[in-house]
Symmetry: C2
Subunit: 328 residues, 2 copies
């Protein structure tokens, strides 16, 4: 390993002088010396040792990207977020350490041990949010949180509006009996908001939705089974992945989508473009979400800005999985 000392020795100067050149404080070094030192640096292939640097500066340029351990390996949502975050941060001189952690203690240990410059959380860390924030004065950006929103900086999407849009679409297409499938509604405020937006809008239009038409289940088979027993014509499914699986099951059973059952998903994952019929869904802009999260992180690096909840808009992506009864 080549160190400052090696360079200094070869250049016949002090370690300090080399350090200044390496750090671009060239104004404080004579141009001639700087040039000579730079040449030697190139020759010897010197690069600064981040461990030594951060030991003094008490800061690294590591950003912890924190997922939950149980987040599905091939979750396309997380994948898109990572793909948005990592190159962006790197561009700004920060390096992303992706890690799966489940609770406050693990997060805290991790941030301290690595002396992370900041962290972005993907997934739910509801209960721990405040304790994490108390113990660290580095920027912490949460995503899709619904708790403690006045004390943390969060980037979310308008889940409630998404639910509304889905309901409105069904209504505008003449559907009068529709249902909803979701999962983890009890402990996922996201699912709950989508659910609320959907049912509130239906109620506003005097369309009833009762428990028989609400499926809180992660099994597409069960959902299909239960839905087919009713006379609903449409199903709002709060995640594309589940929506696509439900469509598959329906097709397998010989029930046409959307003729027998219309489907609206949520997320607009790339899968939906290739499905048959192509999936009508609520689109969330994951790339935008990633970008906003990074911006917030970087802006909070130098000065601590007041916490704020950023909501990214969603929109209806109309494709072919909803039947039009309005002109019949």
């Amino acid at each position: 390993m080549v160190t400052l000392k090696d360079i200094a020795k070869k250049a016949g100067v002090s370690v300090m002088t080399v350090s200044r050149v390496v750090n671009g404080n060239q104004s404080k070094v004579s141009a001639k010396t700087a040039k000579r030192i730079n040449k030697i640096i190139d020759e010897l292939g010197y690069v600064p040792n981040y461990s030594a640097r951060s030991l003094i500066s008490k800061k690294t340029n590591i950003i912890a990207i924190i997922l939950r351990k149980d987040s599905k390996p091939d979750n396309p949502y997380n994948a898109r977020m990572l793909s948005g975050i990592i190159p962006f941060l790197q561009e700004k001189g920060y390096y992303s350490m992706v890690v799966g952690l489940d609770n406050f203690k693990e997060v805290s240990r991790h941030l301290k041990s690595w002396h992370a410059a900041g962290a972005i959380f993907l997934g739910l860390f509801e209960d721990d949010v405040l304790s994490i924030q108390d113990e660290h004065d580095i920027p912490l950006i949460f995503t899709d949180s619904y708790n403690n929103l006045d004390t943390i900086t969060n980037v979310g999407i308008d889940d409630y509006k998404g639910g509304c849009l889905a309901a409105q679409h069904f209504i505008s297409k003449g559907h009068t009996k529709v249902g909803l499938a979701t999962y983890a509604i009890d402990h996922s405020p996201i699912s709950k908001a989508r659910f609320q937006g959907f049912t509130d809008t239906l109620k506003k239009h005097h369309i009833e939705i009762n428990d028989e038409h609400i499926y809180n289940d992660h099994s597409p088979e069960h959902i299909v089974e239960k839905a087919l027993k009713t006379d609903i014509t449409g199903l709002f499914i709060t995640a594309d992945i589940l929506a696509l699986d439900v469509m598959e099951i329906l097709k397998e059973k010989g029930h046409l989508v959307p003729d027998r059952m219309s489907i609206i998903g949520f997320d607009d994952l790339p899968y939906g473009k290739y499905s048959s019929p192509r999936l009508t869904t609520i689109q969330q802009d994951i790339d935008e979400k990633a970008k906003v999260a990074c911006d917030l992180l970087l802006n909070n690096m130098d000065q601590k800005l007041p916490s704020k909840n950023y909501i990214i808009d969603v929109k209806l992506q109309i494709r072919d999985s909803v039947k039009d009864y309005s002109t019949v």
Copy 2:
């Protein structure tokens, strides 16, 4: 920040004693002292500072996961690989730093600055392989490489066999005129191997394939346009993403898949399960690839094993995008 010194002071012992307790060398510390120290560690929330540790040990527990900067953000292949690698390494006490780097110089700087314990390369780093290896004596695992295979440790898949399987499937289904679409065949040995396997197998069965039926193009529109001018009944497309787009274009133009054109893809991305018709494709086991890469990395950590090229098998995943002419 709580340091060893703080603990030592509070416990009335030397820093050395605390260090031993932290590192589990409890045998060398009296049980009583150890217990007292551990209690204080818990109370004060002490965690070791990795920067300080690695400054001495000249090693970190950082694994650099190196992608090319130009790798598509939402590339599902990379996403799956990352999802396979990151939790696995974390389980073993290593942390993944995901970074986009394009050439030897960047890679070298990165590995040195961070004092990485190892690196896994996703994507092509053909020309630089040897220089990178020369400069670092940490385990470097490459994936999908075709050059310098006798001097590096690589994990790949049997691309050639994949091409063979595709050709055999067409043949077994009675196709006599088929084509191939790929891209970057000139500088992607992967595409080339798939191409070779395909054409070699056809030749073996005395089925001709001429330039008119080979489309080296990344535009699905162009591919469809050119293919429809010929009388081929099937198209082997060396990447699912492209295959799915081609199917879409064909459908848009009113040409049925597989009635007018059969399609075989490559990769078996999750998309293919939802497409209509569901995509027949060559399946590569990305999770297995990730696992093998990690295993190799870890095994090479303590002792340097001889370089080896590991080939993971591929298989034909039959679904609905190939028409059967054999019984007609």
